[in-house]
Subunit: 430 residues, 2 copies
């Protein structure tokens, strides 16, 4: 049976998951694939990891290039992450016509264009199945399973950390801070959680998802993002009373200008995505032929992510065996000059939470501002009188232009009858 040499860059959680997966399922994989996968070299800055993981120290090195350049290495698996040296390692591998598997969404979202072009120019595969959705094969589904569809829209819960925090806030009434602390204690959130809770990780994934959906490579900066720091447990409760839950959602919509954005979003409690709780992820795809389909599973974690990395290794091995490298372009299509619509230009429904002085005529003043900007209100709900002089007013709008909402809120925020700053979340009726 033919053997394929794998060079592993980065022996962190997922990297050691790949080793473990090959140990446990290597035989089954060989039978399914008709080829044997062997990790022949591992590069990591910390050589002491070899001991804990029971790895022959002879195959460990701190020099990634000695792995990449080794003629016995057929395939490079990059699991270092981050922008740093990973990019150079990947480019070097591709130039040597060695296929690369990576889960590095940050790098691909920021430098995908260069990396994908290098792959194509060298007729070499770059697979990134584990960069979105962890164990959920959503990248493969978009590239192959749904290929006959024009994607009309996609909605994704793609960050398990945020979903865990929001789930805890919604189900147990925890504050954001308490839920974050719990997530950190359980290892679901980093000590510096900004990357997750400010939506950056989701932004990277949304960039990749929208690129695959529409067949061209979008710049990450065009994907607007807001994280979950502004969501309070009161908003979760109010949303629930109105029939909604709040999720950090990747929203992608087709159109003359497409939409691709990440923000806390009210979705109906009856939506299938509302039931996606804890660290689980799910991506809903609405295609013109297939209609709605949903892909649910573990969006992160050692073994789920490693399983997707290994599926990519199999893909690449099949291509090598068939002598058909780059059987599919990294982003199939690239057939148009679509752009992402600025978020100011979108139209949707809104949840607004205002803090208003409990005085005659205040409500009339506020509602007239909305009216002036063409914003029609679906419901207005005055909540409890807080200690002091301010009442909380919840507003759900009909479909309105974001620009108008922003202008109206600015105007309202400048009134002297307004207490704390108004809060705005978008609604998607999915």
């Amino acid at each position: 049976m033919r053997e394929f040499g794998i060079g592993l860059l980065g022996l962190g959680t997922v990297g050691s998951g790949v080793l473990k997966g090959l140990q446990e399922n290597g035989e089954v994989l060989a039978e399914r694939l008709g080829a044997k996968l062997v990790v022949r070299k591992i590069a990591d800055i910390d050589l002491s990891k070899a001991k804990n993981l029971n790895i022959d120290p002879a195959i460990m090195t701190t020099d990634a290039y000695s792995v990449i350049n080794d003629p016995k290495i057929d395939i490079i698996v990059e699991l270092i992450g981050g922008m740093g040296p990973a990019k150079e390692f990947i480019l070097k591998s591709l130039k040597l016509k060695k296929p690369v598997i990576t889960a590095n969404k940050a790098l691909l979202a920021n430098n995908g264009s260069e990396i994908f072009e290098t792959a194509c120019a060298n007729n070499t595969d770059i697979c990134f199945g584990a960069s979105v959705g962890g164990g959920i094969p959503i990248i493969r589904v978009l590239r192959e399973g749904l290929i006959a569809n024009k994607v009309e829209s996609m909605y994704g819960i793609v960050n398990g950390t945020c979903n865990y925090i929001l789930t805890k806030m919604g189900q147990d009434g925890m504050t954001f801070e308490a839920a974050l602390k719990e997530a950190q204690a359980k290892g679901y959130a980093e000590t510096n959680p900004s990357f997750d809770i400010d939506g950056i990780d989701s932004q990277h994934k949304t960039t990749l998802l929208s690129s695959l959906a529409f067949g061209l490579y979008f710049p990450v900066k065009d994907v607007s993002v807001s994280g979950i720091r502004d969501v309070t447990e009161r908003d979760m409760r109010f949303a629930s009373e109105l029939g909604y839950t709040i999720k950090l959602l990747a929203v992608i919509k087709s159109g003359k200008e497409v939409e691709a954005r990440v923000h806390p979003t009210l979705i109906p409690k009856t939506s299938p995505l509302a039931a996606v709780n804890g660290v689980f992820n799910a991506i809903m795809v609405n295609g013109d032929m297939t209609g709605r389909s949903i892909y649910y599973g573990r969006g992160a974690g050692q073994m789920p992510t490693a399983a997707t990395v290994l599926a990519d290794v199999c893909e690449v091995v099949r291509n090598i065996m068939a002598k058909s490298p780059l059987r599919m372009k990294p982003i199939p299509g690239a057939h148009n000059d679509l752009k992402i619509k600025p978020v100011e230009s979108i139209e949707t429904r809104y949840y607004l939470r205002l803090s208003l002085m409990d005085r005659p005529n205040v409500m009339a003043t506020v509602t007239s501002i909305f009216g002036k900007h063409g914003i029609s209100l679906a419901s207005v709900l005055q909540k409890e009188l807080k200690a002091g002089k301010y009442v909380t007013v919840l507003i759900i709008t009909h479909t309105a232009k974001e620009k108008n909402i922003q202008t109206a809120l600015e105007e309202i925020n400048s009134l002297d009858v307004v207490g704390s700053k108004s809060v705005m979340f978008r609604i998607e009726d999915i």
Copy 2:
């Protein structure tokens, strides 16, 4: 751009969906694929369909072999269905080394062994993505996305007709007969609904799913099946009171002997599959690496199914362009001599509905029979006194051996204090 000639056998619902899909999305597909797909010939017994569908009558024929043998036809799409001539058409095509795409689960479940062997012997692809799950790319997910996993279990709602009927019974309290009638009126059920409601269609799909899960070809007769005719609206209500809903479920479990069966099943209302309603399908896969993942979408219908057929066409075209036919075997693996456990040997929990005379000592007699057979009861609930002398008794057992349950029920049914025959449904705590 290279063109590929498709020969379409069968111009029914899905066949005309394939034509429609190519009309609407042919350009996008060509860009994604780097090749153009052209339906060059269509065989159907009814030539008049050409007119209604605006098809050039010159490409229509009643002679399928004239399509198969045409040197301008590169790929055969078989959408006739059924066992009849479809098998001979497929075998002939494969022997001519023309790749075949089919959605014919009945044929594959019954004759897959011969068909898959012929494909392998002729180094030619047979793709059957649309045979399970309609628009849900579950076949592709199992063959590729989850390939690194050992499948531990799978649970599938794979028949939209049954799921529609059970949903109506559960949500609206309709009788089975009324729900079936409504399904027929909406075109979700055939005039002769036996194929769906007796579970045959699900049995075929379960055969294919379990073959893919475990990498060998199981005989369809080893997959035990019971349909939904015995589910009453009372059972739906009782199940709901106990915290369950009833679904026709494909149940697949790994083991020294594997399990593969189809039957009405109580699942907790909190299960993600409990929320799969109407004609939608969903398949839950529990893999040793990926953990739980779920695939949800339209399990039937013209365009969803056509989309999956076209995805298979793309797969085959890529293999032709790369000169790598049979890049993957139809059933990857075939590495063992696993067998399906007879249903009598399974162990699970059970829901039992007994009709017992309202007389002293009856309950003691019945429960002692369960005790004698080593069946431990988790809950016993006496329901309303029906007109007359019988009361309904609901029992949920702890895990028990099916053989013991069957023996105990036979014994109970022979008691003269029993009214109508006892009803038994299996429970899966998913």
